[in-house]
């Protein structure tokens, strides 16, 4: 029978958090025409061994968790992005040329233990 985990504990588990990158904060608004910013997100939280299988973990994370049980010097699996998506950016370079290109792996869509 499943025992419900305490609420505070669940909040600390590995999951995706919202992070909006505002180019103005970086001073990049002077050369990036669009977008003005984007929701990049980030991954944060714990990857306890007991929940390795339920936290979108890789096989590697599972093996690492097993090894950690044997050898405590092996670090715990980390909370990392497991699915990323690109964004397109429209900007001006130093020669005032207008450039449009897309950049891979800019947005965190999903997180997991790895």
């Amino acid at each position: 029978e499943a025992v419900p985990a305490p609420q505070a504990f669940c909040r600390n588990l590995c999951h995706r958090h919202q992070l909006f990158i505002n180019f103005r904060d970086l001073g990049w608004h002077k050369w990036i025409i669009a977008p003005k910013g984007f929701m990049a997100n980030y991954c944060h939280g714990e990857c306890p061994f007991s929940l390795t299988t339920s936290l979108n973990s890789s096989n590697y994370a599972f093996m690492q968790a097993l090894m950690r049980a044997v050898d405590p010097e092996v670090p715990q699996a980390a909370c990392i992005p497991t699915k990323l998506s690109p964004i397109s950016m429209l900007y001006q370079d130093n020669d005032d040329n207008v450039i449009l290109r897309h950049y891979e792996d800019m947005v965190v869509d999903e997180c997991g233990c790895g």
């Binding site: 040329n97 450039i99 449009l100 897309h102």
Partner: protein
Amino acid sequence: SQFQESVFLQFLGLDKVPSPQTVQPVPSILKKIFQDREAAATTGDSHGLCYIKDLGIQGNILRLLLDQGRFLYPKKPSQASSCLQKLLYFNLSSITDKEELTMAQLGLDLGPTTYYKLGPELELALSLVEEPHVGDWPVPLPGKMLVLQSVPWPQGVVHFNLLRVAKGWRNNPWKNLGLLLEILVKGNRDVGVNFQLQDTCARLRRSLRASLLVVTLHPEQCHPSSRKRR
């Protein structure tokens, strides 16, 4: 943090933080492609980023290169009917070796009302500059003629395919000596029309804008599996 910023800028394909001198207008085609991609991203459809549907070509990097050339003022115009001469020059050095050139389209914005109510028709001549500019000679010698066409009014932007020329410049950058643009007046002119023409040529000189839309495909960012199936 500046060091970290420079590392990230390199990842974006930039040497340093750009500091544009003037805010350039974004051509409608780039705006549309950008908006389509943003819409696709919201629906989670990030496929097809290496195929530009609006242009019907493969590519994932689009650059609007601005003309870095200059107007020419020959003491003796090559032809009596010459309205203006300009050396067009586009710096392709920002395109990396790994990128494959798939499109190079010259856009000449002649201004929306430049030829409005103009009597004689104008002719546009575009030729390749093949010889280096030497000495005091004010005008480079025109080489191979690329375009010779009539330009009826009213005008906006006219486009020319320069893919072969741009590929040649990329293979031999030292051969990139620019293009010679000449706008000529067609037919005979009487005194009244001649006066009107001077005004038109002066306005054309003020409004003329040239740009080169270059599309490239970066193979490392465009795996064969992600390319659109023909």
